[in-house]
Amino acid sequence: MTLASAAPDHATPDQPYARPPVIEAAIELRYADLLDGATVDKAVARLKRDFPKAEQLSSVALRIDADQGAGNASVRTEGFKLTAPLGTDILMAQMNGLTVVRQPPYPGWPHFAAHARDVWTTWKSIVGYHRIGRLGVRYINRIDIPATAAIALEDYFRFNPQIPDGLPTPIDSVFSRITADIPTEQLSLALILATAQPALVGHHSFVLDIDLGRTIDPPQKDDDIWAALEAMRTRKNAVFETTLTDRTKAFFA
């Protein structure tokens, strides 16, 4: 079986914007406990058929004994980043679970979610059932705004800092982050608005990063998992729509 890509790579009726600003969409299925490396390697060997570019994901631990003046570093392999030939579909296959990522052009949720579920089914057929500890849906958007003159952030974003009198203005960059629990949906939200390296000449680029996670009583059965992810996506859309002004949405309508 060949895993389907999240294609089509153009706007579809499933999503309202002709040129969605998503630069990274991710669905995460994280385990409560770590898998062993051999199991991950076996799953990666299968997934590499469709995602042939493989890079090791690793973390470095540095231990220093100040009294002895000695130290040592250890590198731990956590899994692999696997990229499909066109570069738009990516997996992070790790000991703590699977993350399915889509880079632009964003095809809309139905295609992306169906693709992610296919990959999950293949992954699970190899690693077997393990208890889910967290589900995540994260959308990183990059919003490019023409800016040959100073711009007022409130014209574009409903989530932006207020600058008290006495601080220099105009400002050069922004980084705002909030986190909140949504108890009725058992979700946690992390929302970031930040300036980024301008992607286009004569423009400002802003990153709007919406990360929803569920660690409280996450569902374990596949149908329940995908229903929960769908609900998280609905909440993500609501956050997106309420954070941006109509003027901003017009850039990608």
Binding site: R134, I163, H203
Partner: protein, 198 residues
């Protein structure tokens, strides 16, 4: 007071120097967040067989292209991908040449989106890994070599009144239209036949 953001800088600059150190360290890392690709820590690249290195380079450039896909037509993106496949074809590759430099390719994409040439250029690569775009119109030729941080070296050669005129220079993307004004950019960028200068 609402936040006013200064006008966009004319060109990309290298990253600002690190902040003043603090005992409290940097911005606290989120405890539980969905991983993202850009921040994933991949192991240092080891020497790869040429074919694998070329494949990986093709994927890297396509990923960079995809980040601007919302500003590109699908036709253009498809054509660009085909050009990258040819440019980095193992059969055509010259041993010893450098793989494309990411910063050079970023400047190429930014320049194309800024200049918006209706005629797409041919693409090439210098031996040290810089992207080159070339337009030809009869005996006339314009080529641009893209450097990181929006720097562009250009070379132009054009027949005018039976004489060959040549020019060259280095500038930033935003200054290209001015610097090349006397060479008539549309001579290369416009679709269809162009009449010789009166």
């Amino acid at each position: 007071m609402t936040a006013l953001l200064a006008p966009a800088p004319p060109a990309r600059r290298p990253p600002a120097p690190a902040a003043t150190p603090s005992l409290h360290g940097a911005t606290p890392k989120a405890v539980a967040e969905t991983p993202n690709v850009a921040r994933a820590s991949t192991a240092a690249a080891t020497a790869k067989p040429l074919e694998e290195a070329l494949f990986d380079s093709r994927v890297d450039l396509k990923v960079a292209t995809s980040h601007l896909a919302m500003h590109m037509s699908r036709d253009w993106r498809d054509r660009l991908f085909a050009q990258l496949d040819r440019m980095l074809d193992p059969v055509e590759w010259t041993a010893g040449d450098s793989l494309p430099i990411g910063g050079s390719y970023a400047t190429f994409l930014r320049a194309m989106l800024y200049l918006k040439p209706a005629r797409r250029p041919g693409l090439g690569l210098t031996p040290d890994g810089h992207i080159v775009a070339a337009w030809t119109r009869g005996p006339d030729r314009l080529s641009m070599e893209f450097r990181p941080y929006d720097q562009v070296r250009w070379i132009v050669s054009r027949m005018v009144d039976g004489h060959r005129d040549n020019g060259a220079g280095t500038t930033e993307i935003t200054r290209l239209p001015d610097r090349l004004a006397s060479w008539d950019l549309q001579h290369w960028f416009a679709l269809g036949d162009i009449q010789p200068p009166a």
